[in-house]
Symmetry: D2
Subunit: 319 residues, 4 copies
């Protein structure tokens, strides 16, 4: 395999995945998201050696949505520490849809993990209590390698105005003491971080940091501590793809996180970061085209963590 091949594999992945789009639907519960063209499809790959590959609508902007939950988790872990963060959220898959809250009443007042909505709102509460949103946004700039990244105001206002289920969860957690700060401030932070506007190149940059041990390949700077990186990537394996994380882990086998804006990040250890985008979602809330692009790439490039076909060294050498 060489660079030319990787380019071709990526183009083939897009071509092959396009046919699944018609089975998906754009997110409808946020009015602003419902307006997006469901046929968009794009992807970017950045290898740890710095090679970049793009295909399709990779320059199209979309909002991060739940992908941001991985960044807010890392931000909270770095600034507040493991003890505080995991006193508010668990580390276990919930077995329920991302927007479920019944378990908060029936099982544990702690949300199961930081990637379901309730868990991410709890983490957002921790951050919003101590930090300005711009401090978080500045971390996003570093991870994605672009300082002009900002929120999509229309999406933010649409979510803030209509996000009644998230509001319900937040007040529930305020009642049980999981959220200690102001609920509306927490929700403003949460909706803002979901509304951050990126393209697949930005996502690939970020996921390349994840693949590369937390170090930015552009600057050589460490952006994420090793221990925190391990936590984040492991949670991406067990909880990153909503309640189809288990099946995704089998079929694709990379730490990944999806968002209902249509984006997915995935990283292959010491190899590459991948960002994909396709707003048509499957019934679990994952980009249907994006999922298939990742499955295609995993299969063709042996990216599954248990693929056992290539050793890291051999693969990297051959690129």
């Amino acid at each position: 395999m060489n660079i030319q091949n990787l380019d071709e594999v990526l183009r083939n992945a897009l071509e092959d995945s396009r046919k699944y789009i018609r089975e998906g639907k754009v997110a409808s519960y946020i009015p602003e998201l419902a307006k997006v063209d469901k046929n968009l499809l794009g992807a970017s790959i950045i290898t740890v050696d710095g090679d970049r590959f793009h295909a399709g609508d990779w320059q199209h902007d979309f909002t991060m949505q739940s992908i941001s939950k991985t960044i807010s988790l890392v931000f909270a872990l770095q600034h507040l520490g493991k003890e505080i963060v995991f006193s508010k959220v668990g580390m276990e898959p919930s077995g329920d849809p991302f927007n479920s809250m019944a378990r908060l009443e029936t099982k544990s007042k702690c949300p199961s993990n930081p990637f379901i909505n309730a868990g991410a709102i709890a983490v957002a509460g921790l951050i919003a209590d101590k930090f300005e949103f711009k401090e978080y946004l500045s971390f996003v700039h570093k991870l994605c390698g672009r300082n002009s990244i900002d929120i999509d105001k229309n999406v933010f206002e649409s979510e803030n105005r209509t996000g009644m289920l998230n509001r319900s969860m937040a007040y529930f957690m305020k009642n049980s003491g999981i959220i200690e700060t102001d609920v509306e401030k927490t929700l403003e932070f949460y909706f803002k971080m979901c509304s951050v506007k990126v393209n697949t190149n930005d996502l690939a940059n970020y996921s390349c940091v994840l693949a590369n041990g937390g170090i930015d390949i552009n600057t050589g700077n460490r952006l994420i501590d090793s221990e925190i990186l391990k936590i984040a990537k492991t949670l991406m394996v067990t909880c990153g793809m909503y309640d189809s994380s288990g099946e995704f882990a089998i079929r694709v086998g990379m730490p990944a996180k999806s968002g209902v804006g249509g984006g997915i990040i995935a990283c292959s250890e010491n190899k590459m970061g991948i960002g994909v985008f396709g707003p048509a979602l499957d019934e679990k809330g994952n980009s249907i085209g994006g999922y298939h692009i990742l499955e295609f790439l995993s299969s063709k490039l042996g990216l599954h963590y248990f693929s056992n076909e290539f050793s890291s060294k051999i693969f990297i050498a051959s690129v």
Copy 2:
């Protein structure tokens, strides 16, 4: 690191883990298991290069219990195929304890995955319908590298006589069509596979097959197909340690499966298979001493799949 070191690391792991035993309890819901000495602790490592390391009560026999769920899954996948197996069980963590059945009524008639009791009973039903138990046992012999392995009749009879919750699950699934064969035949198979008696060397042999791409290092024979191995190991990551799989994945980071008999298997890709044993269990049902041995080994040897500290090549070379 060299072989001498690995021996020392393993002894240190046992020594360090012994202090947790007093916080654990032996399984009490199966009368025969309640008789075991809770202070037992043992471990075995077999590297893919064939080196073997043992410590503590590694020669002590115990029953596989839920560890067998990984073998029955592989057996069913190899003989019946993915379509049939995954028409009866899902691939997702359930978020619930291993012996929970409420979700069968409230969510889906398919058990969430093959490693909770309901899922393993469903898989046992598929096998029991077509195969004799001795055919399954013969596969266990190959995986563990010992032909004298057999069931512990007292444990089997104890479970068969008292396993009312498993019986309840089985009849529930008979009602919903998940189990199509005879319920009592299914349960007999299930209780037998749980009652298979092994030691940590047997487990290490089996987990070394998992670590080594499905190939027995002793004979060079392929015992498990690549694709099936990938499924089994991925499910061990997401669902292998009951409802603390998520935390184990963060803290230890190896595909693993525990049993209430006190055993745990864990494998480190292309490196080694590990078998541990300690009948004192934590509140989730995992060996409390065994868990800490694995955490110690993972930390000292960099075995976490996202440890990022050693490449496979470097590690294997240095042993």
Copy 3:
């Protein structure tokens, strides 16, 4: 109102209710019940003064099914006492369908009340441990005023062979200690009591005992103690019509109990006992025609306990 009128009101009730039959379905989960003609419809009234009124297929035999749960409750209360019975079942509506068991795991190991299946099986276990079925049957004879009443062997065998969900519940309760006796003996008793074959005249006789303070109008004998009668009738109000008990209480307002065989008993305090039969069931498991007959009678005769239109005295006098 006079006797002639009551006869006419009953005939009108049947006529008016017949149109709802097409919306219902016969119980299909017990193969033997699925064979019944869904267009059957019958009713009997017996007043506390001994007047009898019949209409439609009142002589047609059907099995009691869940109606028997009221008799087994009374039998258990009379022979074993309140303390023992209510140590195994609660007194609260469950909010769930009659065949639900999730709450046994998620809420309380005691079934919510003796009229959901799990609760009735728990009560059957108490009785089966100490009494022969014929002792129970003899009590049925007295309540219904007919000594030739017996079980329908085909239905019994059909239920015993296929009742896997009830079997699942029973083993679940065996596991949690709610059932202390043999499970299969318990189920045999339960399926037998459900299979007792009656007609609406038998039911009206029994419900007239309930209406008449526990005293058989034919013999003047007390068959049910006052305190136990109060318990049984109150539970019939809160839990008698499965998970539409609340709506039935509003629309009809008589203590009642339905069975999936198509029968319903209802009683109006100091006035009359009513037995209806129509095997076409609504989605909750209540006879759809029978429900409407009772609603019609309640409305025309002012039988709702809060109808406030007639005092008992005035009504009885005018008949």
Copy 4:
């Protein structure tokens, strides 16, 4: 029995019930309620013939809390009709605590009934959308026979500021369309109706209207339609005492509604209305002293709807 006797029975009821107070606790989740003296105990009876009996702290003011749910239900039924009201709430006991909301997600988006918090908030939303609070308050004045009744501003503000669980429910129902009007306006209405300050004489006046077929004995005016009264009283039987309604129906047997302020209303058909007050609550949220007063009265006066000991006529005549 004569009037003198009823006075004595009431005093005995209080005396006998006082011993249970030490087992109870005042409501703590509303800070303002936590300040109340738990030893207060009072009761008032008003017969349909206009005789009034009082005992203990009957002149002490307390807030209606959930008792108001019966008034808002009647108000909504009278002004908006059954179709609209029961398109938003069900008629069934939920089997869950009054402040549970899990069922909104797991079972039905309609709250089970109008007396659990979610259901009452849904009804409050219907009213708040069309009426001023003062119009509702004016109806309270008529039912209680006192125009000076008003809200307790401290309690209202305390609930409004701290009622995060009710807020969570309201936003959940806003999301699912059960609440169509503004959530904060709905909650303001709900917290205000809970904060209406009364004494047991006021409650007895109201419950006497319920006992007397909806007609105010003081003025002869009909305050509640017959059909609506039947609905309200029946729901008080099946759902009035939180998740111990079933047991209360057996032990006491009167339509009743409790509030966490310590009040309970109960009515005996064509006989009397009763108001009791005791802020020490049992673990279900019912006044522990008040519950025992009602049980004592029911037992001594034969007030259970299935007591079968006195006919209405005989009783009323003898007073």
